[in-house]
């Protein structure tokens, strides 16, 4: 086999000084990952977990990676997306995967809280993330996690000590600039016992010329009795692909909430693996997919119940128009010891166009007997009775359908516990599905 595009990519990386070079464990970590990537290659549609997502385009011509040294050649500072209305956040901005101090609010480095970009942590004191990087992916590794590790450089580190509580959400903004680039970032989030944090990730293309691939992987541990709310809003342009992953471990009585809004992009893949490793651990995963144009969104989720009394809730909704396609893979795994598990999962899709497609794989794998597990999946259209009802109240056909479609999508977000953020996402959904109903310009709109 000739040297593939991916291999060349690793060659490029070899000549660049990445953060933490010279630190033994970092070097070894990258080297092992490069080797692993050489063995795995990019995932193909013959793999069960990737059967609906074809990455041949990427494999043929892997976009040139943006690495530490190539940044700075960019010159002008890109436009930063607007803040979320009524929400004060601590913002860290990454331009093509590289931290931009100029655009960010700054770091936190107190006795019990650390919020800093990974590259500077690696340079300053790499021991702060030793053992945390590469800790959570485990068996869920694939080609993209390997290449992400091989090119480990920047990202965000969030470490909270015991009972540290930060009410202000941390907002991570990933801007993509330039055409045909691949951008990598790695986040490490570690919440100690009893601590609490909110992390909002936003993925934005600066203009319509931005294209290529963004791959951000987060490794997350939620300690005993700790709580993390984690939101991902993915709103890149139609020329951009996105392969992201969040790998989460939750200790006893810990709580992890995730909401993922996929509002744009070309090929989008979100891996979300949550292991409930302690008694009484709890997770809630919500997702909304708005498919327009040729957007292809593959949500791969896996919830693992390893200990008794765990609760999981998963609720994904897709609205698919044009030639878009949504894939939902949701596996709930209940280990032998995880008695008294309560797991519920649902995936509902609304097809608006004859060329749209919905593929759903809700799965239960259960080895414990005293459990309550249920899942459901539906694919269908708007209820004509509801449309009729609204029309009989004097609402026009288009408007009625718009209202019902927006309501359908928004239902996945009702449990989202951050009001300003929920409103902002709802507005974005509305402006995409029924622009005439949007009361105000969405902040997630027109920043391209």
């Amino acid at each position: 086999m000739a040297i593939s595009a991916e291999q060349q990519l690793l060659e490029v990386a070899r000549d660049v000084t990445l953060a933490g070079n010279g630190v033994d464990w970092v070097d070894a970590f990258r080297k092992n990952a490069a080797k692993e990537f050489g063995e795995r290659g990019l995932p193909t549609a013959t793999m069960e977990d990737w059967r609906y997502t074809n990455l041949r385009g990427l494999a043929r011509k892997f976009p040139q990676p943006v690495l530490a040294e190539s940044v700075g050649a960019q010159g002008s500072v890109p436009a930063v997306p607007a803040r979320i209305p009524d929400l004060v956040t601590i913002r860290l901005v990454f331009v093509d995967g590289q931290f931009s101090a100029k655009l960010s609010d700054g770091h936190i480095n107190s006795s019990d809280m650390l919020v800093e970009n990974l590259a500077s942590v690696l340079k300053r004191d790499s021991s702060l993330v030793k053992g945390l990087v590469g800790d959570r992916i485990g068996n869920h590794a694939h080609g993209f996690t390997a290449i992400n590790s091989a090119l480990l450089d920047d990202g965000c580190v969030i470490r909270f000590g015991k009972n540290a509580d930060l009410l202000t959400p941390i907002e991570l903004v990933y801007l993509s600039t330039g055409s045909e680039r691949s951008r990598f970032a790695r986040n490490v989030i570690h919440l100690d016992q009893g601590s609490r944090a909110t992390v909002i990730e936003r993925f934005v293309s600066v203009d319509e010329n931005a294209s290529g691939l963004t791959s951000v992987i987060s490794e997350i541990s939620v300690g005993a009795n700790a709580s993390l709310s984690h939101y991902r809003i993915q709103e890149e342009n139609a020329a951009s692909s996105h392969v992201g992953g969040s790998y989460v471990g939750v200790a006893a009585d810990g709580r992890y909430r995730n909401a993922t809004a996929s509002l744009g992009g070309n090929v989008v893949r979100n891996d979300l693996v949550v292991a409930l490793n302690g008694k009484g651990a709890d997770c809630q995963l919500d997702g909304v997919v708005i498919g327009q144009g040729k957007t292809h969104v593959d949500n791969f989720t896996r919830i693992e119940h390893h200990e008794p009394h765990g609760t999981s809730r998963e609720h994904y909704r897709s609205v698919l128009d044009d030639r878009s396609r949504s894939i939902f893979h949701g596996r709930v795994f209940v280990a032998v010891d995880a008695q008294k598990t309560d797991a519920q999962q649902s995936n509902q899709s609304l097809l608006l166009s004859e060329y749209a497609e919905s593929d759903s794989k809700p799965q239960l794998e259960i080895y414990a007997d005293d459990v309550k597990c249920a899942h459901g999946a539906t694919v269908g259209q708007l209820d004509e009775n509801s449309v009729f009802y609204l029309k009989s109240r004097g609402i026009g056909d288009d408007e009625a359908r718009g209202m019902l479609t927006v309501a359908f999508a928004s239902e996945a977000l009702v449990e989202l516990d951050n009001d300003p953020l929920r409103k902002a996402i709802e507005l974005a959904v509305r402006s995409r599905l029924a622009p005439e109903l949007a009361e105000a310009q969405s902040i997630f709109e027109d920043q391209q």
Binding site: S353, E357, S358, Q363, H375
Partner: protein, 482 residues
Amino acid sequence: MSSTASEIDRRISRDYKEGFVTDIEAETLPPGLDEGVINKLSDIKDEPDFMREWRLAAYQQWLEMKNPEWAHVNYEPIDYQSISYYSAPKSDADKPKSLDEVDPKLLETYDKLGIPLIEQQMLAGVAVDAVFDSVSVATTFKDTLAKAGVIFCSFSEAVKEHPELIKKYLGSVVPVADNYYAALNSAVFTDGSFVYIPKGVRCPMELSTYFRINASNTGQFERTLIIADEGSYVSYNEGCTAPMRDENQLHAAVVELVAMGDAEIKYSTVQNWYPGDENGKGGIYNFVTKRGACRGNNAKISWTQVETGSAITWKYPSVILEGDNSVGEFYSVALTNNYQQADTGTKMIHVGKNTSSTIISKGISAGKAHNAYRGLVRVTPGADNARNYTQCDSLLMSDECGAHTFPYVEVKNPTAKVEHEATTSKIGEDQLFYCKQRGLDEEDAVNLIVNGFCKEVFNELPMEFAVEAQKLLEISLEGSVG
């Protein structure tokens, strides 16, 4: 109890071993598989050339294929060269002379199922002498069927007498290269049933393999082809609730159903092959490919299955809904106990307009067994107004078993309505308590609840079958409560 159990073990394991020994009689092929074996098989069966060529082509296909590994089952790799691919029915001399020689535990089971003595002899493989001429029963059948124009015969007979039908339909629903076991079956199938219902005929009776006495020993590679021509109806029952004596470990059957316009086929299966002992030793591997095609408008195919036997079940009775307004149904109860493993479900492929399908699957897992539902509902772009409803429920009866649900829903048409629901739970303490408080003991209470759990499927079975299936479930669950 333990003494009889070991007696069964001894007898059964001895019997199964014999299935693999090269105890060559007149017409038994030595173990192994190559073109020569297939040619010989074809010679023995005196088949026309087209059949021989078909087998050989299938064999070539098979050689290029790989054993599928995606199913949620574990077993030692099968050595296909250690299997004998043809063995003539056992001579009477080898069979037990009377029921007295048959394992008392087996007889006890027959009694519980309420099986008449004569049938017990047949099932236990007792050499039935001419005094009771069971063949005469079959003959009366044949007359009635012939009057209606229904063809119901063994597959070998059909190959010789109705080659035009075989040529036209064989492999048209399950292509040779469909999967590994289908290819193997196509190369080496020994016999099976063939049914043809002419246009507009409602088959005057329920057909059953059980009554096709002259070809009861169809071996491990069975091939069934049922064709219901326009406007006809047939109900076909396969298998039997009673545990069958069987010498083969690997069963790879293929069943093809063809329903033309306005025709309906109802196919019911009760499968209760030897599941292995309580330590998971022995037992049948049941790797079956079953598929029906609704070729014309308004056609209907309905699968009903009760799976309680076999060490490993790998089976997905499917329907391809090609005709407009065609209907596909799948009703299944799969029960696994001890070390049994089942990976079963269905595929509903919606192609025609206004097609609908219903899937009701009930999985019960006890002991250390694993029970997986794996299903696909696919709505193709042209299948306007397709409708599917799927319900998969699993019941867990021990803390060492597993119940899994792996549905695939693929929709490419915006007018489709597809619903999938699944639940997994154990029998509620409150349900049990309620029954016990009304005077039922625990075992009866569990049986009552399990039967209620399976009711929707049993309702689809022909009546006598349903009664037997209910009893069978009780027997299969015996001792798993507690």
